[in-house]
């Protein structure tokens, strides 16, 4: 699903990512962790085609990011959905409109849009707010709308950038459960977070750590969480 090899990226004249290699298989749940400014958001921006790497090789959902042109961006964004910390919903539009917009741009017929949006709204417990403008919703509800918008198109990959950053612990846990639920249906998820609680709520997920734009685990082969622990234990034993 995601193949990055020795990717370097420049942002504002500074090197934001250095020699990053990451391979994520279909159906995986991956946490991108690291302190603020580590390059988590930059890496996600590369993955949804908002930033072009300076060097290396990068492919997402079969799209070669190194050769991606502006005309090819919509095709990538139809396979990859993004959820942000600041929700990015349209406050003037209703919950239904915010979710349906993702289907409208794909040319889905109106009847099908209505059915699919209602299903997602029901799944995310937003039925009572279907026709409320999003500006009247709480932060948790707005984030659920953003997740619903990404889910309704049944994407191959969901990128989430600190989706729980503005939410309290209960809501955060609820949202992580939602992501896990969609992951069990086969959707690949890469979530950036620096919240340790969030990591503990999905212990089965792989963790990739970034510091100052570099991955702190072996770059060629990112290990799964269990392998990582075993690796560390064997190193300690060796010492």
């Amino acid at each position: 699903m995601v193949h990055l090899d020795h990717v370097t990226c420049i942002l504002g004249g500074a090197q934001a990512l250095t020699d990053v290699s990451l391979h994520v298989e279909r159906g995986e749940f991956v946490f991108l962790t690291g302190p603020s400014g580590a390059g988590k958001t930059t890496l996600l921006r590369v993955l949804y085609g908002d930033l072009r790497p300076k060097s290396g090789a990068a492919a997402v959902a079969g799209v070669d990011l190194m050769r991606l042109r502006a005309s090819g961006l919509p095709a990538l964004r139809r396979k990859v959905a993004v959820v942000f910390q600041d929700f990015k919903v349209l406050g003037e539009r209703t919950v239904f409109e915010n979710i349906s917009i993702a289907l409208e741009v794909r040319g889905v017929p109106a009847g099908s849009i209505d059915r699919r949006v209602r299903a997602v709204i029901r799944a995310l417990d937003l039925e009572e707010r279907s026709y409320s403008p999003c500006r009247e919703l709480s932060g948790g509800e707005q984030q659920r709308v953003a997740i619903a918008r990404s889910m309704v198109v049944n994407p191959e990959l969901i990128l989430a950038d600190e989706p729980t950053g503005n939410l309290d612990a209960d809501l955060s846990r609820h949202l992580i459960e939602l992501f896990k639920q969609f992951n069990t249906y086969g959707t690949t998820i890469i979530m950036a977070t620096h919240n340790r609680d969030v990591l503990s709520w999905a212990p089965e997920a792989r963790q990739v750590h970034l510091v100052r734009g570099q991955m702190t685990l072996p770059t060629a082969e990112v290990l799964s969480g269990a392998e990582c622990v075993a690796n560390l234990l064997s190193k300690r034993g060796g010492a």
């Binding site: 949804y48 919509p74 964004r77 959905a81 990015k88 349209l90 917009i101 993702a102 918008r149 198109v153």
Partner: protein
């Protein structure tokens, strides 16, 4: 979603941003009004030149031996020629009387009786020509050159037509004066195109930048549409429709303001000694103003919507 639906959505979405829309509309209207005022001035200068110097005058001389009955029939027919503004006719007797009156008016005042010039012949001494009048029948015909006609070819055709009348000996016309008027009009028209081009550029830049500012209010929407995989046309079509509507409404409002300005100027200038009749733009120019504003605003919105 079809392009038509996208455009309709763009129009419907205009109500979501009332203040930026209003500010843009006022700007479009004011710039279109500025362009319209320029057109109004050019149009009225052209009309004034045509009114004061733009009439074609033909002096037609029949041969002295021409049959007066035939000549008078031709005079009657001349009044029905398209574009004729005025026809003044002179029989040989009337021409002589006119000549004598002219000479009398220009002759020095009659000397006092007893002075040394008392025996000099006066201007009215042409009475001896009575019965042997050498002057031919003549007519002075003034034409308004039909709109859209180039003066010189039109005058050439009219000259040939008049010269071909039965018994006509000579035809003269005011070619120099008309050439001067034509020159003025050509100069105005030559100045008009660069001026209109300049106005179009100003409209484009001002409207484009204003629409770009207005789109700041919609940047979230554009960003989200882009994130969910909207193709460029899906994003731009509603903004393009928004620009077209802004341009059309702004252009029409500018026409209303221009009509108000023209009425006010007419009331102010159509008084002694000026008697300047400020006319409104012809229908086609009014239409062109609205069409140009609409097109430029639509184009500016389309370009402004590019990332």
């Amino acid at each position: 979603m079809s392009t038509g639906k996208l455009m309709l959505r763009g129009v419907a979405d205009m109500r979501r941003f009332p203040l930026p829309q209003l500010c843009t509309l006022v700007t479009v209207c004011m710039v279109a009004l500025l362009a319209g005022t320029g057109l109004l001035i050019l149009h009225n200068v052209q009309q004034e030149v045509l009114r004061t110097q733009g009439q074609a005058r033909f002096q037609i001389y029949w041969s002295a031996s021409a049959n007066m009955t035939d000549v008078e029939t031709q005079w009657a027919d001349l009044k029905h020629v398209p574009g004729v503004a005025e026809v003044s006719t002179f029989t040989p007797r009337a021409a002589m009387a006119e000549l004598m009156r002219g000479l009398t008016a220009s002759a020095p005042a009659a000397p006092a009786p007893g002075s040394e010039n008392a025996t000099s012949p006066g201007a009215d001494d042409f009475a001896w020509l009575e019965g042997e009048n050498p002057l031919p029948p003549t007519a002075l015909v003034s034409f308004d050159i039909p709109p859209g006609e180039a003066p010189e070819p039109w005058m050439g055709r009219m000259y040939a037509r008049l010269r071909g009348l039965s018994g006509v000996d000579k035809v003269t016309y005011n070619a120099t004066q008309l050439s001067l008027a034509t020159g003025w009009i050509a100069l105005i028209q030559r100045a008009a195109w660069p001026a209109l081009g300049f106005f179009a550029l100003v409209v484009g830049l001002v409207v484009g930048n204003t629409l770009k500012l207005m789109m700041l209010a919609r940047r979230d929407e554009v960003e989200i549409l882009s994130l969910v995989g909207a193709r460029p046309w899906f994003i731009r079509a509603p903004l393009f429709a928004n620009g077209l509507v802004q341009g059309f409404v702004g252009g029409v409002l500018a026409l209303f303001c221009l009509k108000f300005l023209q009425t006010w100027l007419r009331g102010m200038l159509d008084v002694p000694p000026l008697f300047l009749k400020v006319e409104f733009l012809p229908a086609w120019e009014s239409f062109a103003l609205v069409l140009a504003t609409t097109s430029v605003a639509g184009l500016a919105a389309f370009i402004a919507a590019r990332k």
